[in-house]
């Protein structure tokens, strides 16, 4: 029997570019997950990092005797290892902040749509206010106030993202609430909570999934931006943004690899997510359905 999920997968797979994006993204996730087993060096373990190996070009051998295919950075970290570990942080930050922001935003949006009246107006004006300020500005201020660390970055990213979900979910919930199946559910004597969470919420999920892909890519690049600016993650736990920032000063001296390989990894990650996101948007858009 064809479930909505299976129908979605089939429609998604019709687009080759989207499948390519999915394959690329899966590869990136696998590399990140298994990073400790497939990298020659743990870049967070300062005892393993040798300053003598710094700024080696791609293909050179380190003092420990392994080849650094992507070169090393200014403090002697193997870039291949650094990028994979950096990807772990970037993906974790992107996914976690996205999930938290989505849950928070959906709850707020559903509550606003359900409560209506003045409560709804107040909540939606807060959302408008939030969305009228540039995300990077809010994130910068928050991270500057909270300090460095993965948890603080996630908090900052949740704060800049939740409003998108709240606005979208409220809009869909207002439409869904008027539909007859809600009235039918009421006529069965279901509780308000059951109607909101079991009947209305699943019908609002399509736009949330689309926003989730866009926002996750956005969150990853925002984290990289913050780290690049030096307010994100600490030097001892380099994310992609930190690696790019570290190599930036060497660009003009011809040591292109320190910045460009982490940059390429970031680019591929975001592009793969966006390729999937585009297709998901097309598949889930009710206006494009036949």
């Amino acid at each position: 029997m064809e479930t909505p999920v299976r129908r979605f997968v089939r429609a998604f797979a019709e687009d080759r570019v989207a499948v390519l994006g999915f394959a690329l993204f899966s590869l990136i996730v696998l590399l990140a997950v298994f990073a400790p087993f497939i990298t020659p060096q743990n870049p967070y373990d300062l005892a393993k990092v040798d300053l003598m190996d710094s700024r080696l070009p791609p293909g050179e051998q380190t003092g420990d005797g392994y080849t650094v295919w992507l070169g090393t950075d200014g403090v002697g970290r193997d870039l291949y290892s650094g990028i994979l570990y950096g990807l772990r942080i970037s993906l974790t930050v992107g996914a976690l902040s996205g999930l938290i922001a989505a849950s928070l935003g959906m709850s707020v949006g559903l509550f606003a749509a359900y409560a209506g009246g003045r409560i709804e107006t107040v909540i939606m004006r807060i959302v408008d206010l939030q969305l009228s300020l540039p995300a990077i500005l809010i994130a910068l201020i928050l991270v500057a106030a909270l300090g460095k660390g993965v948890d603080k970055i996630i908090i900052a990213l949740v704060v800049v993202q939740w409003a998108y979900y709240a606005r979208t979910v409220r809009a869909s919930a207002l439409v869904e609430r008027r539909k007859e199946y809600v009235e039918a559910a009421q006529s069965l004597g279901l509780s308000s909570a059951a109607i909101v969470f079991r009947h209305i919420m699943p019908n609002c999920l399509a736009p949330v999934i689309v926003i989730f892909t866009v926002q996750t890519a956005h969150a990853i690049s925002l984290e990289a931006t913050l780290s690049f600016l030096g307010v994100g993650l600490p030097q001892t736990e380099p994310s992609l943004g930190v690696l790019i920032a570290n190599g930036f000063q060497y660009m003009l001296s011809g040591r292109y690899w320190i910045s460009s390989f982490p940059g390429l990894a970031l680019l591929l990650t975001i592009v793969s997510i966006n390729l999937m996101g585009d297709r998901i948007r097309d598949v889930l858009n009710p206006r494009l359905e036949k």
């Binding site: 007859e180 006529s187 069965l188």
Partner: protein
């Protein structure tokens, strides 16, 4: 059923108004009727006559700005008008169920049939999920869905319109309600499917003793199904009696007009008859009888003075009621 026993549902002077800034719309204004156990009441009227709002009022599902402003709705002797939300919720789906017009819209598209059915049972009873599932299978079987155990796992879009309406009926039957309000449930279906569903509803009501309020604009549907007919016009019941009395010998000119509008009543070759004009806006009803501007028998009295309910007892203790200053003559029998 004798007239003296307590009816299952007794609606008295029900008034449901929509109070907006632009004025008060009296969607239902002074409606009274009774439904006995196992009886089928046909509630007939044009769009905007207040028949659906009457149904929603019984379930307490009138959305703001609509509200029941006066009158009483008694189900098995219990007053429903003015009950709080929680008490009303425990009655909905358990004592009174509803079937809606468009089966394409009334099932949640993203939930499987079993989810929706089991949930409807568990909302009112503490039974195991297995027991609830068995009851769902039984209900689907009752409405004539083949291989119900497999079909339970399907999604609504995998059913045809007629099958979906059967599922909706099965859901309404789940908690064995004493009353089902059906709001034009066959209007969106093909005539062949319509007659199947009608036959099944008739059998189900007979077997389970469930009373039915069948809201429709289609008098031909009522003819075969209902024992009692109430004709609504502009928020009021203009005529109510047994089905034969209403269809064979209407006393209210509007009922006569409705019957005359049926294409089957016309002589072939002659132009089809219709009621002149259109239903008045409920916000700006004419003074006097609301039907007077369209009525061929209207007099000066009709235009200034609203007719009260007149009663008449027919043979066998059956009551007939109508609101008209100049009722049509009864044909001599």
């Amino acid at each position: 059923m004798s007239a003296s026993s307590e009816p299952l549902l007794k609606v008295t002077d029900l008034a449901t108004h929509f109070i907006t800034r632009a004025g008060t719309v009296k969607a239902v204004d002074g409606v009274s009727f009774e439904v006995a156990r196992g009886e089928v009441l046909g509630l007939v009227g044009e769009s905007g006559s207040g028949k659906s709002v009457t149904g929603y009022s019984i379930l307490g599902l009138v959305d703001p700005p609509g509200q029941i402003v006066s009158g009483s709705i008694r189900l098995s002797g219990r007053e429903l008008a003015g009950l709080d939300d929680e008490a009303m919720r425990s009655i909905r789906g358990r004592e009174i169920a509803m079937i809606f017009q468009d089966p394409m819209m009334t099932l949640n598209p993203v939930l499987r049939i079993d989810t929706q059915m089991i949930e409807a049972i568990l909302a009112h009873e503490r039974v195991s999920e297995r027991a609830a599932r068995d009851r769902a299978v039984e209900a689907l079987q009752k409405v004539g869905i083949p291989s119900p155990r497999e079909r339970l796992e399907a999604y609504p879009h995998q059913f045809s319109g007629g099958m979906r309406q059967r599922v909706a009926i099965a859901i309404a039957l789940l908690n064995r309600p004493s009353l089902i309000v059906a709001d034009e449930p066959t209007t969106a279906l093909d005539v062949t499917i319509q007659s199947q569903i009608l036959a099944e509803m008739q059998a189900l009501c007979r077997d389970t003793g469930t009373a039915l309020i069948w809201i429709t604009h289609d008098l031909t549907v009522i003819a075969g199904l209902a024992q009692q007919v109430a004709v609504m016009y502009a928020g009021r019941i203009v005529e109510r009696a047994g089905v034969d009395a209403v269809l064979d010998a209407p006393r209210h000119p509007y009922t006569e007009g409705l019957l005359g509008s049926l294409p089957s009543a016309a002589t072939p070759g002659e132009p089809l008859r219709q009621i002149p004009g259109s239903t008045p806006s409920l916000g700006r009803l004419p003074p006097g009888c609301a039907f007077s501007p369209r009525c061929a028998y209207a007099t000066a009295q009709c235009r200034t003075e609203a007719p009260e309910v007149s009663g008449q007892t027919l043979g066998g203790g059956v009551e007939r009621q109508f609101r008209c200053h100049h009722p049509l003559q009864e044909p001599s029998r």
